[in-house]
């Protein structure tokens, strides 16, 4: 397959692994921020191929995992009680809310639809003028332009029955929160290639300069990830701390300026709750007041009590790399992909689910 098979070449992978082995002289902990990279590490069996000195820590970059419990409850409420057509990306459906997931709401008769693009949700709103349509706009900076564009389209079309339930999180503040936690011991970061495709690299330079950590903007194919790891290790071994771009075939220093314009038209930066981590200042996008009519949190008066997280779930410590999933007492016991106690066990990009599959545990 063009543009993919080239980045899955087993011979080149061997060369990178050799080079990593030859370069590394002592233990390093590297966090891959993005869930897509976690998925690639696991799917391709890379973790096992790395030398023992290199520990990969799966970061908070799984949007499904960090979407607040309260917001899932709201989505479930809108779908079940308000009778809206609730559209969502696929992997949000299985995430447990405080009482039920969207998948369970669907089973109870709610109209929940899996879409690949929020623009399809706008089309549904046009097709069903008598129904209210809500898109569960989840994601990092990557999905923000399309979500924002859906609002702009709906506005232009004069639609009154479309809104988004936004839970947008931002990568740079999350990296900062991870480093600032005194218990975390991360030596270097693989930054999320697709986030930087949109936003560019500018926000990462101050981080690497202030905290003296190498940050390598990295892609998702096995060779991308291996090369990204090698670049971080080279910097660490030479006591450097710079922002480098492994994913230069896609990511430009300034990012996608047009996409950024669309984001800033609709969204503004605000404080944001991260499931399992808590509130991180200025780490999310909210819908600007000029588009309040398209903001489901304003359109529907939904007051749902903040439900407590399952006290046995230590997902916050896991997403900051303080603990490994198998250090959790419930990992693989009470908590499994078929019965997740917390979100990192839900999505295949979540750290716990990734470890679970990797460890070969068998579901009874």
């Amino acid at each position: 397959m063009k543009y993919l098979s080239e980045y899955r070449d087993p011979e080149l992978a061997k060369k990178y692994l050799e080079e990593i082995k030859n370069t590394v002289s002592r233990p390093w902990s590297i966090m891959e921020v993005c869930g897509g990279q976690t998925h690639s590490l696991v799917k391709n069996g890379i973790i096992e191929m790395l030398p023992k000195e290199v520990t990969m820590i799966h970061g908070p970059g799984c949007p499904v995992c960090v979407t607040p419990l309260n917001l899932i409850d709201k989505a479930v409420y809108l779908a079940l009680e308000k009778g809206v057509i609730l559209c969502s990306f696929g992997d949000m459906l299985r995430v447990p809310g405080s009482e039920k997931s969207l998948l369970e709401a669907k089973a109870e008769g709610a109209d929940v639809r899996i879409l690949y693009s929020p623009l399809e949700a706008v089309k549904i709103a046009e097709d069903y003028p008598e129904k209210e349509v809500v898109f569960f706009a989840v994601g990092f900076e990557t999905t923000a332009p399309a979500n924002a564009l859906s609002v702009i389209h709906a506005h232009r079309k004069g639609l009154k029955n479309y809104s988004i339930l936004a839970s947008h999180v931002l990568v740079p503040p999350a990296i900062k929160a991870v480093i600032d936690d005194e218990k975390s011991r991360i030596d270097g970061f693989l930054a999320a290639g697709h986030v930087c495709t949109i936003m560019g690299n500018a926000e990462y330079h101050p981080l690497s300069a202030k905290y003296k950590v190498p940050i390598v903007v990295t892609g998702f194919e096995p060779l991308d990830v291996l090369q990204g790891i090698l670049m971080v290790i080279r910097q660490l071994e030479q006591s450097q701390s710079e922002v480098e771009n492994q994913y230069a075939r896609i990511v430009r220093e300034e990012g996608n300026v047009e996409a950024q314009k669309v984001i800033h038209e609709v969204f503004e930066v605000q404080n944001q709750m991260w499931r399992g981590i808590g509130e991180i200042p200025m780490s999310g996008y909210g819908v600007k007041s000029k588009y309040a009519d398209f903001d489901a949190t304003k359109k529907y008066e939904v007051s749902i009590e903040e439900a407590p997280e399952n006290p046995e779930c230590i997902s916050g410590q896991i997403m900051k790399g303080i603990k490994k999933p198998f250090e959790c007492a419930q990992f693989g016991k009470k908590c499994k992909p078929s019965n997740p106690l917390g979100a990192p066990m839900v999505s295949s990009e979540g750290a716990c689910a990734a470890y679970y599959h990797f460890s070969g545990m068998v579901e009874a």
Partner: protein, 357 residues
């Protein structure tokens, strides 16, 4: 090319089996009442279309003469949409049960055919499904000998559900059982993975994308019979990786034996378009449903001959050896990735859901 073939097939079906003139356009609750309307529907051509001496008696059940070891299987079909690139629910319902019997090493002979129709289904669509059933039966060499039609209220079904059960005579040389699997057995797949599932996905509401991917639904019984003729008891297990895909079937198999399975990603055949579609949608092709595909566990010493024989068959053009049975890691399936890394293959907790990014 595939598309043209599919269009030709449809046209040929329509010419050979024109829909009878009826005084109703849609199926209503009355058509499932067992009364006059039911008879009108069945007499309109259903019996003629599927005619054979056993069915033609129109008795409450079928009388069958069976000898020797017999296989019996049943399956229900509820695909959405009911018409998809490369076929429709009618041929799926025939092929599905025919193939389940073939996986038992049996020669399929008789089918039952039951419809649960949602009120409002267009008679023209019902006819198209029936014609597909007829041609699929002819191709597989099976007869529909008994059946049933029920109609449910609008909103209580999804156009049409079909159940088929089938009976077949077990091939004299067949001895198919997971307990026959031995260390060193080769795991052979008959063709490209994930084709059917992605064909359906490409037309599913909300997910539509442009592609030429056609379902690979087909009957495998003739292929299996000829392999059994030649390789008999050296074929230890036959299984079709339909729902849950190749990964699920292999994991189920590994869990039922005290041995492990190694598979190699680079050897798993997949069409370029299907692979691209899976990449785009964030789906793992190993968990996507297949139809006209089977996996055989065969004795190591016949594996190469089995493979070359299978590749001579129209249903096995892309066949490949994808793995081996091992004493290492009992009950586990380990996949070697394209770059040589290893990972455990497990069952999914539910339906595969597309990923956000």
């Amino acid at each position: 090319m595939q598309k043209i073939k599919s269009r030709e097939k449809k046209l040929r079906m329509q010419l050979q089996c024109p829909m009878p003139k009826l005084d109703f356009d849609v199926i209503t609750l009355g058509h499932g009442s067992g009364g006059l309307l039911t008879n009108k529907l069945l007499d309109s051509g259903v019996f003629d279309l599927l005619s054979n001496p056993i069915l033609d008696t129109r008795h409450d059940g079928a009388f069958l003469e069976l000898e020797g070891k017999t296989a019996f299987s049943t399956d229900s079909f509820l695909v959405s949409p009911i018409f998809f690139p490369g076929g429709n629910i009618g041929e799926l319902a025939v092929n599905g049960t025919v193939n389940d019997l073939a996986m038992c090493g049996a020669i399929p002979k008789y089918l039952s055919l039951s419809f649960i129709i949602e009120e409002g289904l267009k008679v023209l669509e019902f006819w198209e499904v029936l014609v597909a059933v007829k041609f699929a039966c002819e191709k597989a060499g099976v007869h529909v000998v008994t059946g049933d039609t029920k109609v449910v209220e609008k909103g209580k079904g999804d156009k049409i559900f079909i159940n088929t059960s089938g009976i077949g005579k077990v091939h004299s040389k067949a001895n198919i059982s997971a307990s026959n699997i031995k260390k060193g057995d080769k795991i052979i797949i008959s063709g490209q993975v994930a084709t059917h599932g992605m064909a359906i996905m490409s037309v599913r509401e909300g997910l539509e994308f442009d592609s030429e991917i056609q379902s690979d639904t087909t009957n495998l019984n003739h292929t299996i019979i000829s392999l059994l003729d030649q390789f008999g008891e050296s074929i230890h297990l036959l299984t079709d990786p339909t729902r849950g895909g190749v990964a699920t079937v292999l994991k189920e198999t590994a869990q039922s034996i005290d041995l492990g399975i190694d598979i190699f990603q680079k050897d798993i055949p997949i069409d370029d378009q299907v692979a691209s579609a899976c990449e785009l949608l964030g789906l793992d092709p190993l968990y996507v449903a297949n139809e006209g595909l089977f996996i055989a566990f065969v004795a190591e010493e016949v594996a190469e001959d089995f493979l070359s024989e299978l590749r001579e068959d129209g249903n096995g053009l892309h066949a490949k050896i994808i793995g081996t049975v091992t004493e290492q890691h009992p009950r586990q399936v380990i996949l070697e990735s394209a770059i040589g890394g290893k990972r455990v293959v497990s069952m999914l907790p539910g339906e595969q859901l597309p990923r956000i990014c």
